[in-house]
């Protein structure tokens, strides 16, 4: 059984989600729960750190699509960081970089959020 793990933490008003392992149709509901909770708590600035993610399926990608709208409608966003080339390729093939911001480093993404709110 492919393993999957999702954890959240907060870094200067930005919520960082760490994903680990295999995100597919069976593990996607776990991530959905996390997003639902963040929205309930009115936390709309999200950085998803994919450093330890090995695989993402279409159902996993669908989770981000489902939650991007409420985040952006509340002056938040979902930004992706630390992707391995293999995982980035999956996002890239699908055209995600045209819709979402990708960063090499988590700090960069957090900085970007804070710059924006400073404006």
């Amino acid at each position: 059984m492919a393993e999957f793990n999702v954890a959240t933490r907060e870094d200067s008003l930005v919520n960082v989600i760490d994903l680990k392992g295999y995100l597919d149709a069976h593990t996607a509901p776990e991530l959905e729960n996390v997003f639902t909770r963040l929205i309930d708590e009115k936390k709309y600035k999200v950085v998803v750190n994919l450093e330890q993610l090995n695989y993402i399926s279409s159902a996993g990608l669908g989770v981000f699509m489902a939650y991007i709208e409420p985040m952006r409608n509340n002056e938040g966003d979902i930004k992706f960081t630390n992707l391995s080339p293999k995982v980035y390729n999956i996002f890239d093939l699908l055209g995600f970089p045209l819709l979402y911001e990708f960063y090499k480093d988590e700090k960069e993404a957090i900085l970007k959020f804070n710059q924006k709110s400073a404006d």
Binding site: N33, Y55, S58, A59, M65, K86, L93, L94, G95, L99
Partner: protein, 683 residues
Amino acid sequence: MKSNFLQFSRKRKLEKAITLSVILFLYKLISPYNTTLIPLLINEVIVISTFYFITLYTLEFVGNKKYSPLSLILNAGILNAIIFFVLAVITLGLNAIFEGLTAENFMYSIASTFYAYIFMAALAYIFSVFRTLFFLRQKRNPRFYFNTMIFFFLLTSVSNNFIFLYPDVDYIKSAFLVVTILLIAVNSIRVPWIAFLIKKEKIYLLIISIVLSVLFAVNIGLSSSANASNKVLLMFSPSLYQFLNLLMIYGAIFFGIIFFTTLFHLPTAEAFDRKAQEASSLIDLSKLLTQVFDFKELAGTITEMTTQVCNSDSAWLISGKNGAMSLAAVKNIGYLEADKMFSLISSKENLNSIVSVKTLTLDSFLQPANFHSLAVAPLKVHDKINGYLIAARKSEDVFDDDDQKAIGAFADYAAIAIENAQLLEESIEKERLEKELDVAREIQYKIIPEKTPQIKELEISSVFIPAFEVGGDYYDFFELGNERLGFVIADVSGKGISAAFIMAETKGIFESISRLIDSPKEVLTKANEVLRSSLNRKSFVTAIYGLMDLRSGTVYLSRAGHTPALHIRDNKVEQIRPDGMGLGLDFTENFNCSLQETEIKLKENDILLLFTDGITEAKNSDLEDFGFERFEKIIIEFTGKSIDDLSNSIMKQVTIFSQGNPQHDDITLVIFKWCKKNNIGEF
């Protein structure tokens, strides 16, 4: 059959009792006053047999009510009170009436007989009650003791006749009487049924028994004094008169003993009640283990029983499905309050460290409900905690050891019941999903083209292997006339029936648009527009749409987020990857702008290969991807062979690679080979 027999037998008892009463009545008319041996003997035999059958008949009634001893006692008490009333009233005022009538008087015979009948009936009933109570809840069969007592009852009663026959030997009767009283005392101690009464009933019994004991004692006095009533009864039958006396003695002793026994039982009554309640709750719950099909209903019953088992004000159940704890049921507390209480508990205590029942006392100002103490019991199955059962009290008494044991035992049962209910729910869900998958697979097979088109210039090979859970792959060919062939390969996000439905819709969209629009870019733009209404926010479709001009071998191709097409020429594999995002990701101009269209001029023996990520993402048992490199290697190796050979070897390699790991996504492979020369014989 059995009940018929009983009814018949009951009827027979009544018949016999009535027959004997009539015979007795007639005998009394003929011989109202018997003092010599033979008439007296006949008189007594008839009286005793009449009484015997009346008793048999009343025992039937009384036996039916043996599980409510209190109402039996009350009935006996009322009859006894009537006897008291009759005796007392006659002593007071009616002496004159009977005194005025002489023994030989006809009217006297009738009146005295009826008077005696009333006593017989009342005594038969009271005696039946005593007998029933004696046998109630007896573990060993005490018939011997009771029958011995009855025997002495009889001896004492019959020996009363000696006052008429042989007044000198009155001491015989006295001797029998002493033995009888001893036996009464011995037999009266057997009252195990008192223990099984609840506290309220015990208090009630305590009051009744003392009243009845006194009443019976007074009746002994009344029935042994020399008043008119006693004279009448004695004349009617010395045995019956003596029996009345004996029964009154029995009553006085019996209820006296009941009074003291109940008194001694009273201090432990509450504990006994609680134990009995616990036992019955556990029995109820163990029944539930096998019966409950509904998790919610089960959770509700558990909280309700918890309040009973440990006598708490409120109870609630937290169940931890998939690691996340949530409130499953509440009793005497609001959902919000229970939720707050649980977060309060989890903030104060490390829940994982609670392995057995733990009691907590709380500061009232901290919490929404005014609970004073709590008992938290973990729901453990196979050493895994699946939730918590919490009982709360508002009063000052904390949960003692007994309470904790009860809650613990109860929680153990509850944990198993909940586990069972959840497993059942899961298996029902699994079955439903399997049915759904069958439907999805059927839809998919109807959508995929049955055969590839036959085209002179083009060899086409296609393979489609569905995953166990339908993955949403789709491909199709459209012969558009004017020597043009449209083709599409698509992969719907997600799995199962929802993916299958989107797939069906996608097929319809491409089938119609391909006939209206030539440009692949515009076909995909239009498809995106149409799909908008049917895709939910988290679904999307990746696709490649291409149009092939069969005269020139030119392919126009656009890609919407799909894995690139492969163009193989001279043992080299080139990825055809024009920009374009998946269908359904965006419905604005962004999408249209992202799309590009590319053009490939096919040369002789060029291969165009379309596939879905089921190939490159096929995993082995180490969860390693099949990957693009392996894929490319096989393509190059088999590129010289026929395209059927090529597709077979690809599928074979993927299958070998992913052995031991079930295929989790559909696999689709479509291969075109441009072979113009076959047909026009160019060289």
